[in-house]
Amino acid sequence: MLPEERELALNPIVQESVQHNKRTLLNTRNMTASLFGVAAGTLGLESYPGFLFYAVLSVLVSALVHFVAADGRPERYFYRPGRELWAGEVLGPLSSYVLTWTLFYGLVRA
């Protein structure tokens, strides 16, 4: 038997926990994306600075999850932290960011 299979047999990956972690991360991303949209709209950011704002802040959120929530050891919670924590879901949170951004941009800028 291969060493990785042996390792997996000894320390199994529980599917339920993996899904729970993924869901928590996705929820966090969505909520913060909406709030960042509010901020961007209120600040009156336009096209490129607006998306840059989103990119920077979502990296900030990932860093916060990495250092504060996962105590600097994300491999305990995620199977492949690089792929899931840093480069995870983009389309869902981006669309809610754009939604609240447009809403508040229209509201505030009048």
């Binding site: 047999a9 994306a33 447009t102 229209g106």
Partner: protein, 266 residues
Amino acid sequence: MAPPVAQTIHRDPALFYWILLPITVVMIFTGILRHYAQTLLQSGPKKQPVRLLRQQRSLMRGVNLRTNANVLSPSSFQTRKAYLVSAFQDGAFLADPENRGKPRGNPMSDPAMMEGMMGGMKANVAMMVPQTLIMGWINAFFSGFVISAFAPARLVKLPFPLTPQFKSMLQSGVGTRDLDVRWVSSMSWYFLTLFGLQPVYTFILGNNNAASQVTQQMAQMNPGAGMMGPDQDPDKLFLSEAENLEVVEHRWILDGVEDRLLARSK
């Protein structure tokens, strides 16, 4: 062409309350409605005869034994394996022992398959119909702002620029032609909310909700998760499973556990 001037148009604030908010509220509620409608419309699992169930479950038992073999002690694993292999080869779990050697009948004549396919199509219809309804409604009510009571003709300014090709789609119902693309009509607000509210649905309805578009598309791609059994000859399935069981190499995970425990507590 003249350089595009920054166009700021004075907008009646009442416009905002009467259009943006109703559309958003309606979309949230129809999403929730769609979720509950689909949950209620779902027919439960069909009651199957005992022999069919036993056939399917015993096959699953063989697969489970193979997957989790290493958790069992060697003697326990060997006992189960011997029993299952002999039972599979004798066809003790078959639903239809007389039809053992014959080829399978036409799948379309099997009523169980039709039920499965109809269930999938019902889900699709339940998703498409409300969307088209809402689009039609919005088109009817919220179009043609130039002639409406509110002075300005457009709704919301998009914070980011789009190519001119989007103009015809997003500014339907607005009279002027050379309006900057960034000013969009209510139809585009509909599209924005369509995509942007999916995280909200996930948050409100929990995962596995029927209002989220992404899960819909994924469900369309896995239609036959439970329908593989009747398609293939169960006898062949049993025999192949018996062969797979024979070749399993058993490495008990408690092998050497004393060393691992001591190493960890060092």
